[in-house]
Amino acid sequence: MNFSVWIVVSGLLVIGIAAGFLMHRSDFCMAGAFRDVFLFKSYKLIRPLVLLITLSALLFELFHLTGVLPSYPFRWFSPPAGVNIFGGVVFGLGMVLAGGCVVGVLYKMGSGNLMALVAFIGLLVGSALYAEIHTWWISLAKQTNFSTSAVTLPQWIGVSPIIPVLAVVAIGGFFCWRWQQAGLWVDKNEAEGFIPLWLTATGLAALGGLTVLLSGIPMGVTTSYAKGAALVESWIVPGHLATLPYFTTMPGHHTLPLDGILRSGGAGAHFDIVAIVQVPLILGIIGGAWLSAQLLGEFRIIWKVPFNQIAMVFTGGVIMALGARMSPGCNVWHLWGGLPLLTMQSLLFVVGLVPGAWLGGKVLQRVLVPGAPLKRLNS
C-alpha cells in the first residue's frame, strides 16, 4: 500500500467509527424507516432519512460546483435498467426480514446483537448465491436498459444538474422545516446517551461528504460482503470459485483523489480498490457501535433467541444480498450516494424498495406475532 492508500484507509476507518457510534446511539435504522411506515404508520425514522438525503444533495452539488469531485456523477453508477426496480423490491423485502439494512446489521452486530451476526452470515451466503447467476443476470439487465449513456435524471432530460438538485433540496428543506415547526424533531427515546435522530442525520451527511472527498465516491459496503463470500469459497471450494466470472473479474475502476492512480476492483477476495473504499467503513461501523455499547455498558450477547427468528433473519440476509447485487447497490449506496445526485438507478431502486418493505412488513408480522389481530395491532 502506498501512502495515499494508507491515508484513505485510515480516514475511512475513522469515518466508519464515527458513523457506527452515531447509528448505535440513535438506533438509526434505515430498514425500520421504510418498514415502520407500513407496519406502525410511523414516519419517525423516515424524517431523518429525508434530512440526510437533502443535506447530502446540497453538499454533493457544492462539491460538484467547486470542482472537487474527481468524477461526476460518481463512478460505479450506470445507466438505468428495469432490473433496478426488481432489485429494490428484493432488497426491501430482505432488509425488513433481516431486521436491518446492510449497515444496520453492522452497527447492531457491533453492539453484540446475535441476530445481526446471523443476518451478516446470510448476506455472505446470498452474495455467494448471486455469483452463481451473475452471468445470466447481467445479460437480463442489458436487455432491460432504459438508456445507453445518461446516468442521472438531469443528464437524461438534458439539463444542468443544479436546478433539479436544488429543487430536491428546496422540497426536502421545506418538509424538514415544517416538521421543525410541528415539533416532530423532538425524540421521546429514553435510552441512555441517546443522540437525537436529526443530529445523527446531520452528522452522517457530513461523514458522507468526507467519504466523498477522501475516496472520490459515496459510502457503499455490499461488494465487500461478496468479497467475504469469495474468501470463504476460496478456502472451501477453490476450484469452483475459479469458474465464477463474478469473483474472478475486476470490472470496477476508480481513481483516488489523493494520488490520481487508476485502480481496478471487483468482488473477488483481493485487496483492490473496492476493498480500499469499503472494508475500512465496515470495520469502522462495527468498531464504533462496539465502542458506544461498551461505554454505555450495553454490550451483551443474548444466546437464547427464538429459532423462527433466526431462520427469518438468515433468509432476510440472503434475500437482501441478492437484491443488493441485482440492483446493483444497497440502500446506503443509493439513498446516501445516488439519490442526492438523482441517479436513475437509485430512483428506480427506491421505486422497488418501497413495495419490498411493505411486503417484508407483512411477512414479518406473520412470523413474529402469528395469529394476532393484525388490524388492531396498528390501533
Binding site: E298, L368, V369, A372
Partner: protein, 80 residues
C-alpha cells in the same frame, strides 16, 4: 395485581413493539383497570421510545429504567 414479564432481549427488531402491542390488545381491559402490570425487558434502544409512546396512546402509562445494561419498561395504570 398480576404481573406479566416479557423478556424480549436479543430478539429481532421490531419484535419488542409487536409483541407488546399484541399483549396490550389481548389484555387491554386488565391493564386499564390496574389488574395487570406488564414488565418488558429489552435491549432495543429504540423500544425505550416506541413502547412507552404506543402504550400511552392506548391510555396506559409506562416507566423506563435501565437495569444491568438493558431496559425495563413497566406499564402503569394512568392517573385520571
Amino acid at each position: 395485581m398480576r404481573t406479566l414479564e416479557m423478556d424480549i432481549r436479543g430478539q429481532v427488531c421490531p419484535s419488542s413493539l409487536l409483541l407488546v402491542l399484541r399483549e396490550i390488545n389481548r389484555q387491554h381491559r386488565d391493564l386499564m383497570v390496574g389488574h395487570l402490570c406488564m414488565v418488558v425487558l429489552t435491549d432495543n434502544r429504540d423500544a425505550t421510545g416506541t413502547i412507552p409512546e404506543a402504550v400511552r396512546n392506548m391510555g396506559i402509562d409506562a416507566v423506563v429504567e435501565k437495569v444491568d445494561g438493558y431496559y425495563r419498561i413497566t406499564t402503569q395504570q394512568q392517573k385520571h
